[in-house]
């Protein structure tokens, strides 16, 4: 079996340049790139033409519209978050009496530490991280191996299987709610009750047809010659998967990861049903219960902490996020 190992001249280059992109992403990026050069040559353009840009009337109108848009987006999009950030470090009395004033009686940072320690937010935060990480792993395994079979290995039954996976995209989530809950109560094959274990959240997350479609479409666009070359060099299906296909797929794996982590962080109804033990529950399930039993200032601090992580993630990986969001429409369309 030694011939499958050892570096070969044909498989080495693609590993060092893992850059072919999924077409939608590629075109998106290329167009965005072109767009920034639009000011230099008029060939690539939007709705407003270069001639119209020179007209003072159009210019003034558009600039005004954009200024209004800017103020509107800052107030509506950012405003609530800024208010929450302020309220998280404001004494409860102030937030109740004059919620819009900017710190009438000083700053109270102890809200944050009280939320983190006294209300056990640290525990729920950690639970959320564990849920998100596990769901991510399961979704990655199912989506990559499934996409690999459907796109690269392509057995005879691939098209039938693909249709079965696609069909689940058209079944509304509501149909699954009750039967999936009963499936968790007595899981087939292992005959165990998974209630109050993280498996109850992790495993169903894997049955995500959207991920499989995304990954399969990406694999479909990888150059077949590389696979053939690797096969000629004696690479088996496992080596082809691990050393060729996965390294080439980093862009789409990033997109799937963002979807997986954010979905796990947002999920409410499902963990509410299957994780009844408060010590296991994630933030989203605990926060509504805390609302009734916690001092307002501390509660708002808890809300702030729960939001901070996804927002930081968004600011750090903005491009992946926005690309994923645009891709959502492209795939569904």
């Amino acid at each position: 079996m030694s011939h499958t190992e050892g570096p070969s001249p044909l498989t080495a280059p693609p590993l060092s340049h893992p850059r072919p992109d999924l077409p939608p992403i590629k075109t998106l990026e290329r167009r965005r790139g072109k767009r920034s050069m639009r000011t230099y040559d008029g060939s690539d353009r939007g709705i407003v033409s270069t001639a119209e840009w020179r007209s003072p009337r159009v210019r003034l109108g558009l600039s005004t519209a954009h200024a209004v848009l800017l103020v509107g987006l800052v107030v509506v999009g950012l405003g609530p978050m800024l208010w929450l950030a302020k309220a998280a470090i404001t004494p409860t009395v102030d937030t109740l009496r004059s919620p819009l004033a900017l710190w009438p009686h000083g700053v109270k940072f102890s809200n944050l530490s009280a939320a983190w320690n006294d209300v056990h937010l640290s525990l729920y935060f950690w639970n959320t991280v564990v849920i998100a990480a596990g769901s991510w792993v399961v979704q990655m395994i199912v989506a990559t191996t499934g996409g690999y079979v459907l796109s690269v290995l392509r057995p005879r039954y691939a098209s039938a299987l693909n249709a079965l996976v696609l069909a689940t995209l058209f079944v509304p989530a509501v149909v699954l709610l009750v039967p999936l809950y009963l499936t968790i109560l007595d899981t087939p094959l292992i005959h165990r009750n998974l209630i109050n274990t993280y498996w109850a959240v992790w495993l169903p997350a894997g049955a995500n047809a959207f991920n499989v479609v995304l990954v399969k479409r990406f694999f479909d666009n990888l150059p077949r010659e590389i696979f053939e070359a690797a096969r000629m060099d004696g690479a088996g299906p496992f080596r082809l998967f691990w050393s060729i296909v996965l390294p080439l797929s980093r862009p789409i794996l990033g997109v799937v990861s963002v979807f997986a982590v954010i979905a796990a962080w947002k999920d409410f109804l499902w963990p509410l049903l299957v994780l009844t033990d408060p010590a296991l529950q994630p933030l989203s399930v605990r926060l509504p219960t805390l609302a009734a039993s916690t001092e307002l200032g501390v509660f708002l601090a808890a809300l702030f902490i729960s939001t901070a992580f996804p927002i930081v993630l968004f600011l750090a990986f903005q491009r992946v996020f926005l690309r994923s969001a645009g891709l959502g429409g492209a795939v569904k369309g």
């Binding site: 939007g46 709705i47 119209e52 519209a65 954009h66 848009l69 800017l70 800052v74 509506v76 999009g77 950012l78 978050m81 929450l84 004059s98 919620p99 191996t145 079979v149 290995l153 057995p155 299987l161 509304p172 509501v174 149909v175 699954l176 709610l177 009750v178 039967p179 999936l180 009963l182 899981t187 087939p188 495993l203 169903p204 894997g206 047809a209 499989v212 299906p237 998967f241 409410f268 049903l273 933030l283 989203s284 926060l287 509504p288 809300l303 729960s306 939001t307 996804p310 927002i311 993630l313 968004f314 903005q318 996020f321 926005l322 969001a325 891709l327 959502g328 429409g329 492209a330 369309g333």
Partner: protein
């Protein structure tokens, strides 16, 4: 290694019976388990295992089970009993069902009126912002990143019905209100829609923005040659090019709003006076809110009826609009 001598006689006998095909073809027509393994069938199955297990256990099996359960009476203690269409009859005769259907339709309609044109207008305007486009996209998308539960709990505080409530305070400065927001049966549903629109619009904006960059610039050039002004280019060039994606977002929005749960569950619990009780909340109540054991049959029957309605709705809509969506 012991597999090779076994496979040889088999391939020989095969080539004898089918003399027309050459011996040792890469894919013999009749495959024995051994040739199947040697042809990569086993490793394919290994790769397939995660998908089969995940979808089989947590998607295909529960979907099939939903159909079976809708005609059964199940209480998890005694064996399920076949009851025919009784579950459907029970659900259809529940007066709350029609309240829920009415409320859900009202939510969907309000969300359509408030939430459907807004992202499109924002995207068209944003797409013409040269330097600020990225910043605009990030601002518009920010609410989508906020966990829905946090957003609802935060807005619940904003919707405080007293005069010092945040929204009432702000509106009071321009002489409006105070509004009862979530406290009154007439304003509760619009309040829910307002929050849902805030939380969801950003995602649609990004989809439209991506679609707008895909519109070929030559079309605008051609329109200008024909003497089209700015508005005509928006109405007659850009928007028609987005028809396909607009149709998709419309169907997605209807399917999404028909299954609204989080907002009514956390904001109002279905109240006041059942004015925000939605179909999904009713399903949840059938199955999980009953302390004397869930009525799983009724819940799955209603789920199936909702799903079929949604499927018919989108099929009908696709059919009606096929003529103009493909042009």
């Amino acid at each position: 290694m012991s597999t090779i001598p076994q496979s040889k006689p088999q391939s020989q006998s095969q080539s004898q019976s089918q003399s027309s095909s050459p011996p040792l073809t890469p894919r013999p027509r009749r495959r024995s388990p051994v040739t199947w393994v040697r042809g990569g069938g086993l490793s394919t199955l290994v790769f397939l295992l995660p998908l089969l297990l995940a979808f089989g256990t947590f998607s295909w099996y529960p979907i099939g089970r939903a159909v079976v359960m809708s005609v059964q009476q199940t209480n998890l203690v005694t064996a399920p009993v076949f009851v025919g269409l009784d579950n459907f009859r029970d659900v259809l005769s529940d007066p709350l069902l029609w309240t829920a259907v009415r409320n859900t339709a009202w939510f969907a309609l309000l969300a359509l009126v408030i939430g459907y044109p807004l992202p499109l207008a924002l995207a068209v305007l944003m797409s013409e912002a040269r330097r600020l486009k990225g910043f605009f996209s990030a601002l518009a998308y920010l609410p989508v990143v906020v966990p829905p539960v946090v957003a609802v709990l935060l807005w619940k505080f904003f919707y405080d019905a007293s005069e010092t409530g945040i929204f009432n305070d702000i509106l009071g400065h321009v002489g409006l209100g105070p509004f009862p927001w979530l406290q009154s049966a007439t304003t509760a549903m619009p309040s829910l829609v307002l929050e849902a629109t805030w939380a969801g619009a950003g995602g649609t904006v990004i989809i439209y923005l991506a679609a707008l960059t895909g519109v070929s610039p030559e079309l605008y050039d051609a329109a200008e040659v024909d003497g089209a002004g700015l508005w005509r280019k928006v109405w007659n060039v850009a928007l028609p090019q987005l028809r396909g994606i607009m149709l998709v977002t419309l169907i997605l929005q209807v399917i999404g709003t028909a299954q609204v749960f989080l907002e009514p569950y956390l904001f109002t619990g279905g109240g006041p006076a059942n004015s925000t009780l939605t179909v999904l909340l009713l399903i949840y109540n059938y199955a999980f809110a009953n302390s004397s054991g869930g009525d799983y049959g009724a819940a799955t029957a209603l789920s199936l009826m909702l799903a079929v309605t949604l499927a018919l709705l989108s099929a009908l809509y696709l059919r009606l609009t096929r003529s103009w969506s493909t042009s």
